[in-house]
Amino acid sequence: MTAPTPDTVDALLKANPALWRGGAMPAKESAVIPTGFAALDAALPGGGWPKVGIIEVLHTQHGLGELSLFLPALAAGSQRGPVAMIAPPQPLYAPALAQAGVALDALIWLATETDKDTAWALETALRSQACQLAIAWPGRLRPDAVRRLQVAASEGKTLGVLMRPDGRSAPNVHLRLRVERDKAGQCWATIDKARGSHARPNIALPC
């Protein structure tokens, strides 16, 4: 067994917020969740998805990689506790989720019939104090509904992801991303808005 080089130690420290150097200050509880994509981590304030808050993902159609973007976080969250996916546009396929490392027994898929139910279910999931990550396709949302979701996320100390395929966006979200794909099939994530950062980087993603 070879000794780990400083590079791999750094990589480990970066990848896993539960690890810290023993000589350093007492580790603060990290305020972010690693995204699973190094380039994205580097571009996001704090180095990952915020642990608490609402992320909005704008995309022009389904199937651009918008969901794969959250698979590493979903997989990590499902190992820690329950996660929810609310009103996905098509039936979710278990083998793909399992391949990504999502613990299926921790995942609940809610099939709602109306946008109102979706917003309500997402709010209850966020408020539950147990949910690690909730991803929802809310359809139409009134601005005050987004505000309610934010309060729910900060009370429940959890992260909610809103998928907006219609390109609508709400003010006051913690983080807004735009997911696109160019002609060559490369997936790009643009950080439209991030609290604590003014940069608007454009990141190529392998999804």
């Binding site: 199937g63 969901l67 098509q90 396929y93 278990a94 299926l104 099939a111």
Partner: protein, 516 residues
């Protein structure tokens, strides 16, 4: 010959080894000789003997009334139970009614109502369940409570006995009671000591206390009891000094068995009282209303009774029904299901609230009924598939979803060991924990949709680019749904990645999934 029996013989194990019934009084006793010292596994039985029950079931009975309860015995009418006021004037149970009337002019006779007695005894057993987890009913008028486990919660056994009798008094009952380490011992002490309510703390004191009791406490046919007295055997101590075989020959094996049971040397099976398996509470609304905020307080009142009932009997419900009554219309039925059994009022009430908000009420509600048809034991850890381990907040959230969105809307995914893509993913079934290694899409369409073909190539809003494939899947010949397909990962002009296949049997292209 009468005195040469060694005391030690009394503690010899019973001749016939009997399997111990569950909850038997002597499960933990069976002492070798000499009697075991204080044993923490000892049970303690509190016996309540309600001698006045036949009188007390009459709603207007007062102890000062000159009244007796009568019972027909063939052609004669005999006195079965005597009120304290007339007992002093010489009226005794067993004499004929006419003789009693001769002694006390103006004596009131009430025919015995055994069904009311039984109902009352069961009601009291339910009531007594709050003092002990093991209550046993012995008709017509005796209750046994196992109190070793619960006495500490009330101070000690004496204190518990006092609370019990005070509670009985508040309900208009008087009881003779005693505490001992065997049920029969407790019964005999209670029968003999009408007022003292003895409490035997240590098992080694029990033989002494039993020896002092008169033979009248034995449950024997009258002639046999009379023969005992004629033989000069007046106390149980006299009997215990007799040789066992002689006693059995003259007075029956039954006498020995009763003595052994009282001393804890033979088992005595006592069936546990089972509380009724259903609960119903009716509540009227102060004003008819169709508004949920007006109905919920009434429902809360009914649910509160349900929760109290459940707590008293250490039960829980995983389903209950709320019937909403309307004037001149059939009632609206609202069934509330819980993921796991519970008796928490906020949880039951919140779920009902979710249901009522979704329920269309045809008219104003005048009253409601809460029904629980099945009361379950409350298991702390009865979780099921939908509950990730260790979180009650999540459980409550999942329940609210099920209540509002319906059971079908709350889904849990699983994998299934099948190569056919549409069968590899299951909903609300057990997870097989195995999946294919090759790339699979995150969305699978409910049904494959046919793709247009141009120059033998599929198109979907434009030409499609092949990214990966073919992956051939052929399976299912054994159940008639066999497939033979070549799967491809394709990219459409806007960049979305699709999962499509060419059917080798039907010669066409089909879109089945989307990578997202």
């Amino acid at each position: 010959m009468l005195t040469n029996l060694a005391q030690a013989d009394l503690f010899a194990p019973p001749e016939v080894a009997k399997p111990l019934p569950p909850g038997s009084a002597v499960a933990a006793i069976a002492p070798p000789r000499p009697p075991a010292p204080q044993n923490t596994l000892h049970k303690q039985w509190l016996c309540l003997h309600l001698a006045q029950l036949p009188l007390e079931v009459f709603p207007h009975f007062e102890p000062d009334d000159a009244v007796v309860v009568t019972q027909a015995a063939g052609p004669r009418v005999l006195v079965a139970c005597v009120s304290p006021a007339v007992a002093d004037q010489g009226v005794q149970a067993g004499m004929t009614a006419s003789a009693a009337q001769g002694l006390v002019p103006g004596l009131q006779l009430c025919p015995r109502d055994e069904r009311a007695e039984q109902r009352r005894l069961h009601w009291l057993a339910r009531w007594a369940s709050r003092f002990s987890s093991w209550v046993s009913v012995e008709p017509p008028n005796t209750l046994y409570l196992e109190v070793a486990g619960s006495a500490r919660l009330f101070g000690d056994a004496r204190e518990l006995q006092r609370s019990l009798r005070a509670g009985l008094g508040a309900h208009g009952h008087s009881a003779q009671s005693a505490v001992a380490h065997t049920p029969r011992g407790a019964l005999w002490l209670a029968l003999h000591n009408t007022d003292a309510h003895p409490c035997i703390d240590k098992p080694e004191h029990l033989p002494g206390a039993i020896s002092a009791l008169p033979t009248a406490v034995l449950d024997l046919p009258p002639q046999r009891a009379h023969r005992l007295t004629r033989a000069g055997l007046r106390t149980l101590g006299d009997l215990l000094r007799m040789p066992r075989d002689g006693l059995a020959r003259r007075y029956g094996q039954n006498l020995l068995q009763q003595l052994d049971q009282a001393l804890g040397k033979a088992p005595q099976a006592l069936p546990a009282f089972a509380p009724p398996q259903r609960f119903t509470a009716n509540v009227d609304l102060p004003l008819p209303s169709a508004a949920v905020p007006r109905i919920l307080p009434a429902a809360e009142h009914g649910l509160k009774q349900l929760c109290e009932h459940l707590r008293a009997h250490d039960r829980a419900v995983d389903r209950y029904i709320c019937l909403l009554f309307h004037e001149g219309r059939p009632a609206t039925r609202c069934a509330v299901g819980l993921r796991t059994a519970s008796r928490s009022l906020p949880r039951l009430l919140q779920l009902l609230g979710e249901h009522l908000e979704r329920q269309a009420l045809p008219a104003e509600v005048v009253g409601l009924r809460i029904e629980a048809l099945k009361l379950l034991p409350l298991a702390v850890n009865n979780r099921d598939w939908i509950t990730p381990p260790g979180d009650d907040d999540w459980l409550a959230t999942v329940e609210r979803w099920q209540a509002r969105l319906g059971d079908d809307a709350v889904r849990r995914l699983g994998t299934h060991a099948d190569h056919r893509p549409e069968r590899a993913s299951t909903v609300n079934a057990t997870d097989a924990g195995c999946w294919p290694q090759s790339l699979r899409p995150l969305y699978l369409l409910p049904k494959p949709s046919p793709l247009q073909v141009h120059n033998n190539l599929p198109i979907y809003g434009g030409p499609l680019t092949r990214l990966h494939g073919p992956e051939r899947i052929e399976q299912g010949w054994w159940d008639g749904t066999d497939i033979s397909r070549d799967y491809y990962i394709l990219r459409d002009t806007r960049g979305a990645r699709l999962w499509a296949y060419q059917d080798r049997r039907r010669l066409g292209w089909w879109l089945q999934g989307v990578f997202a």
